[in-house]
Structures are given as C-alpha cells and as structure tokens.
C-alpha cells in the first residue's frame, strides 16, 4: 500500500463513520424510520468491513505497517458499531453510544489521513 492509497482509505473510513454517526443521530432524535436505519446501517457496515479486509490484506510500504494495522482495527470497530445500529434501529440509547463511538472513529481516521 502506498501513502496515497493509505490516505484515500483513511478518508473513506472517515466518510463511512461520519455518515454512520449522522444516521445514529436521527435515531437519537426520533427523526428517522427503523427500516431506513436498518438497511442503510447494513450497507455502511458492509462497505466498512470490505475496507477493513482490504487494508488488512494489503502489503504496506516501509513505515506504513503500524498505521495500516491501526486503520484496519478502526475499520473493524466502526463496522461492529454499524452492525449494532442495524440490530437496534429504533433504540435511542444504543444509537447514542454508536454515534459517540463512530464520531471518535471518524476523528481518529482523519488524524491518520493527516499523519503522513
């Protein structure tokens, strides 16, 4: 994996996690429907899992190995949070926890993208 690709993948994770937190935000405020949350959280989780798998299985350039492991771990954590949201699409308390976790993930992914 090149620095450019790493940066792009970090941005993708930031995007997926931020979107997930926006989705969870709708559940917390009661401004969405459970069918939409269930479906869209599953879509986001699936893409995040794919991203985690790609990052974990790619051979890194020198000096990127540790950051790549961190990015893959963050992606797996985000995917897990998104699966939780999909499993509890109308639970405001669970959504609040997911929102907080995904916001932290998005911040961490942004820092990773800018760390190069």
């Amino acid at each position: 994996m090149t620095e450019y690709r790493f940066s792009k993948d970090s941005e993708s994770l930031q995007s997926l996690a931020t979107e997930g937190s926006l989705l969870a935000d709708g559940v917390v405020d009661g401004r969405t429907t459970s069918a939409f949350v269930l479906t869209h959280a599953q879509e986001l989780a699936s893409n995040t899992e794919k991203l985690a798998s790609v990052v974990a299985s790619t051979h890194p350039e020198t000096g990127l190995a540790e950051k790549m492991m961190r990015l893959a771990a963050l992606a797996r954590e985000a995917a897990s949070q998104l699966r939780t949201l999909a499993g509890h699409p109308s639970d405001a308390a669970a959504a609040a926890r997911v929102r907080s976790a995904l916001t932290n993930t998005a911040d961490a992914a942004e820092k990773l993208a800018k760390s190069l």
């Binding site: 931020t18 869209h40 879509e43």
Partner: protein, 409 residues
C-alpha cells in the same frame, strides 16, 4: 390543471435524464466533491436537451416520425443498426440499474431483504406498464418524481451560500484535481444527453397524438418546463450535498446517503418524501428505458408499436418492453451493483450519442420534411454548438473514466 398534466411527458423524460438512480448519486457526489463548481454543467446540459427534445418533438408532430425512424432513414441500415445495438445495450444496462434502484428504495422504505424486493420491483413495473394508459404513466411517475422537490426545500432550509451558488453558474476550476472536475462535468453533461430520453420523448409525442399547430407550442412548453424542473431537482441535490457533506467529509456512495441529506434538515417527513420521490423517479426512468428499447426496435424494423394500442395490437412491441424488464431482472438478481451499472452505461452511451443527435438535427433543419417548421437560425446554431459539445463529451468520457478511477482519484 389540464395544462399542467399536458407537460407530463417532458417531466417524465427529464426524470430519466436528471434524477435516475445514477444521476441522484452522481450529482450528490459532484456536490460533495466540488461544492457548487458544476452547477453550470446542469444548466448547460438542460438547455441542450431542451433544444434537441424540442426538435425531435417537432419532427414527431409535423412529420409523424419518431427518432429511430429518422435515424434509420438518414444513416442507412448498417450505421442505423450500429446505433440500434449501441442504444439498446445502454437501454438494457440502464433499465437493469433502475430496476435494482427501485428494489433498493423499497428496502429503505420497508426493510425487507433486497433480492425478493427485486422481484417485487419487476412485478410493479410490469403491472404499471401493462395496465396504465400512456398518459397515466406520464402523470403518475413524472409528477410522483417531483416529490424530489423536497431536496429544494432542504437546500433552502440549509441556508446555502448564494454567492458560491451564483459563482457555480460560471465554469471555473477551484480544485487541485482538474481531472476529477472534468470527470464530473462530462458525467453530468453525458447523463443529460442519454439517448433514451429523446427516443422516449419523440415516441411519446406520437403516443400523445400531437398535431400541428397547437401541439407545436405544447411541445416547446413541455420540453422547456419538463427539463427545467429536472435541472432544478438536480441542482437541489448538488446543493444539499455541498452544504452537508463537504464540511463533514462524507463521500456519497448510496441512495441512502442522499436520502439522509433530506432527513437531516427536514426530519422523518423529509426522509419519507425523498424516498417516495426516488421511488417514482427511478421507476419512471425504468419505464423510460424499457419503452425506449421497445420503441427503437419497433421503429427500426417497422413493427406496429405504441402504448395507445392494446398489448395484443402491437405484440412484438409488447414482448420487447416486457423482455427489457425481464433482462433487467436477470442482471440485477445476479448481484451487480445498480449504481455501478448506471455509471458504466453513461460511458457506453458514447457510441450512440452522436449517431442519435446528428439525424435529429439534419431532419429538423430539412425544409423538405418540415416545411415552414424547419429549424430557424437560433435552433440551428444551438443545435450545431451542442452537437460539437456532444462529440467532445463522447471522446472524453472513457479516458476520463480510466484516468480518474471513476472519479475516485
């Protein structure tokens, strides 16, 4: 009210060009990537498709000849057949993407698994086209698609930067990646000129029984109002994406992401209106493409055609549009991503674009066919200018797709 219903052909044709499944996501991605920089592309595309739709509607009205009839006569059998094959391939791919899109939106609405919903989508579309008269297809799906106006409301609620929006009407590049800018500009313009819009529009003019001189005015009004509404919807989606997604670094990749942009400022009502608007718009685009495919075949081979006939009165036409839906079902059920398919279909339409628009321009300007209603100076000048633009788009589309990795850099 009757006047409003009369422009429904233009609205439904425009839905296919501006807010089908690919356009919804593509416009949101353009807004999220480049802010307001490509608003001008929507406006330029809208004026171009207005010019050409008015021409082919006029030809249908005066000469009673829809586009593919003209294509075969002007280009001859071999080139006509090439145009037919290219356009049918694009129609089939686009129809597949739209059927998949209908299933995706049904899933957002009801939460059921995707694959059974593809079958439900197919059934809904088949039943609609079989039982609804042409004018009701236009009204239900054209005006239903206008529920997407919720994005205009969302855009206003988000208090957009009007200065930046106005600046977006002037082409300018303000990004470190000019190739990405070119990719999105060509994609927006190319999607606006998708050939099935004019096939559907001109055949629809014949279906609606347009006769001169009264319906020449209706044609002009329909082309201008229909595509203007399409452009407004398209720009609205771009605006909400620019306002919501740029600051947060969200890259829209799903229809759901776009729906979320209506929910964020407008709540559950905004979400539901956006999803219903998408359902009607994408269903309308699926019907546009399947009927356009059947119109093309029937007009090229000289079959009986028209929704105004009962299914048994134009059996090969009926079998063809049903076959398009059947083929679409098989493609989507195989698991391909509908949004990926529609983005590819825009690129593959490059072969059909010039071959579709050249004959329209030639016939609309030919006084032997059109008499006193041949193109005037304005229509002729705009027609040739846009033809040059269409050729440039055709040549640039594939290299840009490859060089930008489908816009992902």
């Amino acid at each position: 009210m009757t006047k409003v219903f009369q422009i429904s052909l233009g609205v439904l044709a425009a839905i296919g060009g501006f807010v089908d499944i690919g356009d919804i996501v593509f416009n949101a991605a353009a807004g999220a990537t480049l802010g307001y920089q490509l608003v001008w592309a929507v406006v330029v595309g809208a004026v171009g498709i207005m010019v050409y739709s008015e021409m082919c509607g006029r030809v249908a009205c005066i000469a009673k000849r829809p586009v593919f009839d003209v294509v075969r006569e002007r280009l001859g059998y071999k080139v006509g057949l090439t145009t037919l094959l290219a356009s049918q391939f694009v129609n089939a791919m686009t129809c597949a993407a739209e059927v998949g899109g209908v299933a995706i939106v049904l899933r957002y609405l009801f939460g059921f698994p995707y694959r059974p919903l593809i079958a439900v989508a197919l059934l809904l579309l088949l039943v609609s086209v079989w039982f609804l008269p042409f004018e009701w297809i236009e009204r239900v799906f054209g005006f239903g698609g206008l529920l997407l106006i919720v994005f205009a409301v969302a855009a206003v609620k988000l208090d957009p930067n009007l200065g930046a929006l106005g600046h977006g009407l002037i082409p300018h590049i303000d990004t470190p990646s000019p190739l990405i800018w070119c990719y999105f500009a060509v994609g927006i313009l190319g999607a606006t000129f998708m050939p099935y819009e004019v096939y559907f529009y001109s055949s629809g003019g014949v279906e609606d029984g347009w006769v001169p001189p009264h319906d020449l005015k209706l044609n002009k009004l329909t082309a201008i109002a229909g595509y203007a509404l399409g452009a407004v919807l398209s720009i609205s989606i771009m605006v909400v994406a620019a306002e919501l997604f740029v600051p947060q670094g969200i890259e829209p990749g799903f229809l759901g992401t776009v729906a979320l942009a209506a929910q964020t400022p407008l709540g559950e009502a905004g979400l539901l209106l956006a999803l219903l608007g998408m359902l009607f718009a994408i269903s309308g685009a699926a019907i546009d493409t399947s009927l356009a495919g059947a119109y093309n075949m029937a007009q090229f081979f000289g079959w009986e055609w028209g929704k105004y006939r009962k299914p048994g009165g134009a059996p090969r036409f009926t079998v063809t549009w049903a076959a398009f839906f059947g083929l679409a079902f098989l493609v989507v059920i195989s698991g391909v991503d509908p949004i990926f398919v529609t983005e590819l279909s825009v690129v593959f339409s490059v072969v059909a674009l010039p071959l579709t628009y050249v004959p329209i321009l030639l016939v609309a300007g030919d006084s032997n066919y059109m008499g006193a209603h041949a193109n005037g100076r304005l229509a002729s000048t705009l027609g040739w200018l846009y033809l040059v633009a269409i050729v440039v788009i055709s040549l640039a589309a594939v290299p840009l797709l490859v060089l930008t990795n489908m816009g992902e850099g």
